[in-house]
Amino acid sequence: MRNLKQFITDFGWPRIIIFIFLVALFLAAPLVNVRLDSSLSDVINRFGQNAVFVLAMVPMIQSGCGLNFGLSIGIIAGLLGATISVQLGLTGFLGFFGALVIATPFAVLFGWLYGKLLNKVKGEEMTIAMYVGFAGVMFMCIMWLVLPYTAPTMIWGYAGKGLRTTITVEGFYRRVLNDFLAVRIGENFVFPTGEILFVAAAAFLLWVFMRTKTGTAITAVGSNPDYARASGISVDRMRTISVIISTILGAAGILVYQQSFGFIQLYTAPLSMPFAAVAAILIGGASVNKASMVNVIVGAFLFQGLLTMTPSVINSALQTDMSEVVRIIVSNGIIIYALTRKTKVAK
């Protein structure tokens, strides 16, 4: 009994409620003719698709920069990598990892500038980050039209220039990770081994990094910047490093997302992506200044599970389409919950 209580406090009521809700959805699924195995397959796939974004939240939370509402900056770097890779005609694994290699320097540069900016607005990071993200996305809306891309699969057919809003990666790197060593069980269940492996590798690397001297310093900066400064740490430098890492992970995240989803989405598509990642890590039990790998995995799984199951089950049960409404209520509700909880802790 004591153990159970302890477990509940450690795990947290919100997670338990969401977990029970998720189980209930799975139980209800067969009753409204939603197939369990394909649902489960969807959930796992979407978990892999989004987990890197959630992972990207960790370094900035740990360094005290708060939730990375400006993850779009990383996504833009990833989109640059993706489009350049397609432009160069790289295919298969070369296409995917080529895109990653091309995206990284952009991510480092953007992250560095973004980090410099956040250092100037300590205490207001999250608000500023959101606007930086929005502004960045809008600026790129112009750039996508102007940049001299020429690959016929990407540009508008009628004008002969400017990138399309949606570009297929079919024939380039569509599902390269998903299909790598994929395990098919029955007709409807596929385990995307490569994608999950990539997520695991990224999580492991970040886990190792947070255990290095620099990673330790980043955590200390987030925990108490004055303590860190008195210990000879350059607070601004550590924060900038954390922002750069977060931005790189954002870039990697969008590439994983694309190969699974099958399309590069440009223009305003990155606008709302940070919110899903923020909501996921908060569901996972992270606070605004502490996050762990467990938070990432639990959060990404619960949030994506909820997003996959709620629409399909509830729509089938109610015979209406509320998927988008439910999605928005759940993700923003969780963000509000977590941000209000933060003020309590601060007092």
């Binding site: 310093a217 955590t219 000879g232």
Partner: protein, 537 residues
Amino acid sequence: MGQDSPLLSIEHVSKEFYGNVVLHDVSFDLKAGEILGLVGENGAGKTTLMRILFGMPVIAETGGYKGRVLIDGAEVRFSSPFDALDAGIGMVHQEFSLIPGFSTTENIVLNRESMRPTFLNEVFGDRMSVLDRPDMRRRAEGAIAKLGVKLDPDMLVSEMPVGHKQFTEIAREINREKTRVLVLDEPTAVLTESEAEVLLVALRNLAKQGIAIIFISHRLHEVVAVADRIVVLRDGVAVKDTPASGVSVRDIASWMVGRSVQTDRVTEGEERSFGEEFLIVEHLWVDMPGETVRDVNLSVRKGEIFGIGGLAGQGKLGIPNGIMGLFPAGGSVSFHGKEAPLNDPRRVLEMGMAFVSEDRRGVGLLLDESLEWNIAFTAMQIQGGYLKPLLGGLLKLRDEAGMRKLTEEYVATLDIKCTSPAQKAKELSGGNQQKVCLAKAFALKPDLLFVSEPTRGIDVGAKKLVLDTLHKYNRDYGTTIVMVSSELEELRSICDRIAIVDEGRIAGILPPSAELAEFGLLMSGEKAEEAKEAGRA
């Protein structure tokens, strides 16, 4: 006026905060038209006494007080400052509470403005009245005249010199018709000497008109000059209640700091030998808010325990904070014959200095992290300790086992009470947190250790342990220690020499055996020569 029955009586007032006695059985009377000088060191209980008098909610929240406060012979027990104001007690705080964008007049009559009804009152009630500016001005001028100073009623507060702000604040209090007792907490602290003199004249003016004044100040000569009677608080006890005539500054100083118990020297009977002067500080200034250091010169010898004392706000805390690079500083600091860079915490730590901050929870600890982190972190970052190489040194990861071992060592030697080395720092008591801060500094194996207010906010037993630990490290490892503390007794018990800081400068350096009065004189900013004279007398 001139009546003999006291206007205000404090009878047997005691107050404790969480078992910590700050006032014990304090009694005194105040007659109309009398000026009472209230003096005492920091922490002697002056502020607490005034809070009780003024009905500050913090008193009731912490369990109220014992004893009685009487006004005109009737007991009062204020539950809020408003009650105190209604009863005729006015208070002028150390910090100004004025609205900068408002004029003198507006500030003086704030929230008691004269009103003129308009036709809108018929419909909307009194809230639609308009300000009666000529009457406000008349009242403000009245208050200023009563104070006997020159003050432009139309000047904006933001454009005033500091002295005028202080007068405005006092004028506001005496503008209340009922005000009969005026409490001034360090009113001259921010004033220049000439401004202070004008203020003292104004206070005497007020007293002549029958207002009783409680005057709190660290500037003892002002107290002697203006007060009719002097009450000295020491450690929460009113040790002296005497008419001011015939009392000298030196008397007050020794009453203030004098302890009835003789100090026990920790280092009693020990041969103390020191090496060369290896920390030399010249013309140090530090811009630390509230603790500005203006021009400090001192040198510390190897192996010494050097004490820095002085009253709060005089800059003693700024010295270690400035040298360690936590606040903007200038001047020159040389350590081991090498120039130590200022404003660069990392380089100073690398040179072998360490610092235990007075702001334990703000700077000293990672409250949300384990003790292991707290103790090992600085050593890891500065000296690369507690890292374990991986892949042939390509990668270095935290050595959790090493950190644990280190923490367990210090938990044992310093007797830190915790459930495990993985416990979070915020869960420990103040004394144990202080030990963790010390352990963090010791883990660096420093040549020179700055400790700032090491015993602030911890209980007596822990205090002794902390002081003994410092002394032990000094003796066993030859660590030079510079200790900054507000508690003179503590400094006298452990230090080899004690510097007293006043107004951002070293007022004098005394041996611990020097007479208490000398320390008192240095602290209260009386001239150093006078201190010497007192020592000889």
